[in-house]
Subunit: 634 residues, 2 copies
């Protein structure tokens, strides 16, 4: 457990560059011979922990990289907590999201880089070109662990390059540098990932943007590798790929053998609590059975049964073809076709849920990984497409171009609404989506997401909040998630406060999904908890177990405390979540958002949804009043 | 002056329908045999004025029209004062501008329908699909006089029709009715205006939308006839044509011989003051000489000389080819080519300035009327096009499709910025603009205006405020107009507070255009006065004389008082203007606007403009503080 007197040069180098800090709870000790990042060192019976965590500032205007000391105020932050805080502190909220003053922040979670189960979420933050507000999108990927293991609390990409060329940011144990992207620019994410390994070697991991990001499309996401090096783990929502593309940063290449090398103060307690946490996750019926068996797409039949599966651009709550694009069907096909993989699959090392999948084509070759429920809905039921192979092909095109699948499906749905292509026509949908890669005017329209398609074609039936398209749960039949869509600073986002859990899955309790009562409180509680989980770097699917099992949160608390040798309380976790929401609301306030933006499109309030024939009737005042608590930053 | 005992049936009919009210300042008198709208009647030495003013409510959902009594609160309102007030009172500010809850309001000015000089402005109001906020756009047209003469204080078009067909609203002395538009739908404004006279007769006047409005494009304006029945008088800005198009109302056809038949209480005083006002206007060098001689395009050389002519999408303040597209050149060509007309021309009866023009082609045939300065700039200098014939052709395409020329020029400029076509290429600009009429994806993009072109192609150099494109004065070299662009609720709009007058033309004083000091106060004073003029129905070009001549405002006051037999003060005029601004800010507040929206794009603050090499440096706080006074509605 104690690892000392090694790496003198490394420390000396670090000292010179001022790259490390002494963990605040322990006194600084000078004169030790050598220490590595994360080492624990005993001197005169005092424990000294060197956490050489750092910020990496990448200036694209002058093409320099600089490692910086982590400001005291950021030391306890991570993931979404850190991306949002840096944005509030460093950028003018009224700046153009794709302009010189805009920044892209990348931050692994507080627990990333450790063996805590499901702690491999990597947060991306920026001002969203889709919503005009603050945005955090995270992905489960080995890169969260690797960046945390290298000591990077955050990467801040700022400025705009003068020239036309794209660049790569190369990060390794030796440090970071910018390189010309050369012939790797312009490539789709599949081809990029295949060719970038030719330039470096097989064991690198990459964050990249596809052609959509390079073209600064408002629906461009950021691709992260899965453990096999596939490009399918996306920080998809809100157009952060366009922010990265505007900075002409094609990719971040991470070359390190380290995965679980982030410092932990009390390793024994940490390991014990982590094992307990894994057990708790495995014992929960959702995270231990439903998700591992069929992936997130286990929800297709469940939400359809609940009458909340938005069909034909939110006209109906049930889709005849739902079972044909469900997780059960996906699993059966994957098994029958053999080939490279089937449920279940993990998105990052240390995941004990393994809800991801690899969908094979007719020949058993990997076609797409993963097909999530929200994607199968957006590119399936939403468009009245009931062919899983078509859904997989559309999903693959999104992955390759680097588009968020939810808003891509939304864009296709609105295009169908406008009469550009017919509902239910899979081949037409594929052709239309491929326009995005062809740089045509229609492709530019589709690549901006549903909101722009609606505006451009004068369509009013556009299911967006703050410009971002609604995910796979109709807010008239799952009203708690409707409150989340409306209230969150992120634009319509199910992951911001996943009320489906109590509205439909009955994890942790039950709130009638068809009634207005109780939904706002439910949503807000979940928004707070989710913000904390996003800061920790934990996958939100741990929430089912946290809600169901009274041992859940105390175990997460033990892990957090063991990590840094702290003595936090459960309320400190929740306070961390509340603070994230306050920071984000303050950013949006500065950017010009008001409660008038915390509203669903009017057709949800006017038009009853079959089969329950309910409208969204949560009083706006109730949402505004509840949000008030986050309006004053502490 | 007294005109009684005529029209018994008319009164009886009106009484039955409750269409009239007794002017509040006079007692109701019953038992008179007959009175017409506007008649003055003597009984027992008391003057009784019947002003059978009415609102016309056009419900497109059930295709009904209904005349309504004017609510007491609206009796002293008109023009922009009335359109904005009805919007605040009747629509949910968060509604979709093209949805069921949105409305289009049409209102002649308070003085319209009379022989007061330059009182023929017709206001259109709605929630703008371009800005998302309140919008008033007005046009000089005989229709202002005619609708006022028929007693219409406002037309309120609401609801959405179920079917696909378009309709016409037909208004005559006999009342109003909806008719199917039939084969008149889908036509460009020139063809529409030519064919609609075949259906009715030659002497009708029309308000209509072109294909852009029918396609609900955010840059669609509303065409109004000039005295010859031409379609070139546009309420252009902010996309109100899309609001009209969304309601499937192709046109409003007005069939009446009345022009100056609105009621006036003290006709003698009115006539006298009006004559004096005409004299004042003719004596002013701008409204009496500059504008009549060369039209608004007299500004091309002046603004170029001032170094404030935005060139190549706001890169430079001077354009080499400015003189080739100037008012002087326009006048010379019109004279040389002979044909149908030349400067000067009037947009409505009673105009004594006559700044409009009819530009002939090589054969002396009318090509376009009018070519305004802002249009010649938007389609000329802004695109580095120096050929007036090309400008005229682009202008004609805009008129025919029903597009606002400023945002159309902005859209072409951003398309050039995106590399879709080269700067300076007139034929390419014509071809690209014609796409809008061809219903192609690129046409849909261009038809939305500059903001959408920028978003769709990832261009950040987009000179818009609140989504509306800047007009022909660079805010770095005419800082007062920059304050107006930023502060007004309307989106970038020179007419909202035309500070060019003191910054460049030195009418009414001088404020150095290159300095930040004094601009905000200048802008706000002008915004208040302009709002009052817009409510009166007066052309803003009367403002030069009002600023220069101490007899100006007192004469307008005399006219206003004589109209209704009131005893207002000058401050009542200004208070009317302030109240308009308060109402509009309150609407925008409800719609979600904040001071963060009262900002110019960041490149105006970062990038110096040659030749003066100044940036826009008015402190945002100064603008916010000044706007505070309008934040509380009285």
């Amino acid at each position: 457990m104690i690892n000392k007197y090694a790496g003198l040069n490394s420390l000396a180098f670090s000292l010179r560059k001022g790259l490390f800090y002494i963990h605040k709870r322990y006194i600084c000790c000078t004169g030790m011979k050598s220490l590595h990042h994360g080492d624990i060192y005993l001197k005169s019976n005092q424990t000294v922990v060197l956490i050489m965590e750092k910020l990496l500032r990448v200036n694209m205007s002058n093409l320099t990289v600089k490692e910086e000391k982590v400001p005291e105020a950021y030391k306890d932050l991570g993931g979404r907590g850190l991306t949002s805080r840096i944005l509030l502190d460093e950028i003018d909220a009224t700046c153009h999201p794709l302009g010189e003053g805009s920044k892209l922040i990348v931050a692994p979670g507080i627990l990333s880089g450790t063996k805590c189960p499901n702690s491999g979420r990597l947060s991306f933050g920026g001002k969203s070109p889709l919503t005009g507000g603050i945005k955090e999108a995270n992905a489960g990927t080995p890169l969260a662990h690797k960046l945390a293991s290298l000591g990077y609390k955050a990467i801040i990409v700022e400025g705009l390059p003068q020239g036309e060329g794209y660049h790569l940011l190369h990060i390794s144990d030796a440090g970071a540098r910018l390189e010309p992207a050369g012939e790797l620019a312009g490539l789709g994410t599949y081809e990029f990932n295949s060719r970038v390994r030719g330039r470096y070697h097989e064991k690198i991991y990459c964050i990249c943007v596809g052609p959509a990001g390079e073209r600064k499309m408002a629906n461009a996401g950021i691709s992260c590798n899965d453990p096999e090096g596939g490009p399918g783990r996306f920080a998809g929502r809100g157009g952060l790929g366009a922010v990265m593309g505007s900075k002409k940063l094609k990719a971040i290449v991470v070359d390190t053998g380290k995965t679980f090398d982030a410092p932990v103060v009390d390793k024994e307690k940490y390991s014990e609590a982590s094992k307990k946490f894994a057990r708790i996750l495995r014992e929960n019926p959702v995270s231990g059975e439903g998700l591992p068996l069929y992936g997130t797409n286990v929800l297709m039949n469940i939400i359809n049964e609940a009458g909340a599966l938005p069909t034909r651009n939110f006209r109906y709550g049930r889709f005849e073809g739902a079972s044909k694009i469900s997780g059960e069907e996906l699993s059966a096909r994957a098994k029958a076709r053999g080939g490279v993989g089937a449920p279940t699959h993990n998105c990052h090392p240390g995941c004990v849920i393994r809800c991801s999948n690899i969908y094979p084509d007719e020949n058993g070759e990997a076609l797409c990984s993963p097909i999530e429920y929200e994607t199968a809905w957006a590119l399936g039921a939403n468009l009245e497409i009931d062919d899983l192979d078509v859904v997989a092909r559309l999903n693959r095109i999104c992955n390759d171009l680097g588009l968020d699948t939810i808003d891509a499906g939304g864009a296709l749905g609105v295009a169908m609404e406008a009469g550009i292509i017919p509902f239910g026509d899979g081949q037409a949908a594929i052709n239309l989506l491929e326009e995005v890669g062809k740089d045509t005017p229609l492709g530019h329209i589709i690549g901006q997401g549903a909101d722009t398609v609606g505006k451009t074609y004068g369509v009013t039936r556009v299911a967006t909040v703050k410009g971002q398209h609604l995910p796979a749960y109709d807010p008239r039949a799952v009203k708690g998630i409707g409150a989340t869509y409306a209230m969150t600073t992120m634009g319509a986002d199910h992951t911001a406060g996943y009320a489906v859990t109590m509205n439909v899955l009955k994890s942790g309790g039950y709130v009638d999904p068809l009634k207005a009562e109780g939904q706002v409180a439910l949503s807000v509680n979940l928004q707070v908890a989710t913000a904390a989980l996003d800061a920790m770097g934990l996958c939100i699917f741990v929430a089912f177990a946290l809600l169901d099992n009274p041992d859940g949160w105390p175990t997460v608390l033990d892990i957090w405390n063991a990590k840094n040798g702290d003595n936090h309380s459960i309320d400190d976790i929740m306070e961390m979540g509340r603070q994230v929401l306050r920071v984000e609301r303050e950013f949006n306030r500065r950017a010009g958002f008001t409660p008038a933006h915390d509203r669903l499109p009017e057709f949800f309030r006017r038009e009853p949804l079959p089969p329950h024939n309910t409208v969204f009737d949560i009083p706006p005042e109730e949402m505004d009043q509840m949000n008030e608590q986050f309006n004053m930053i502490k």
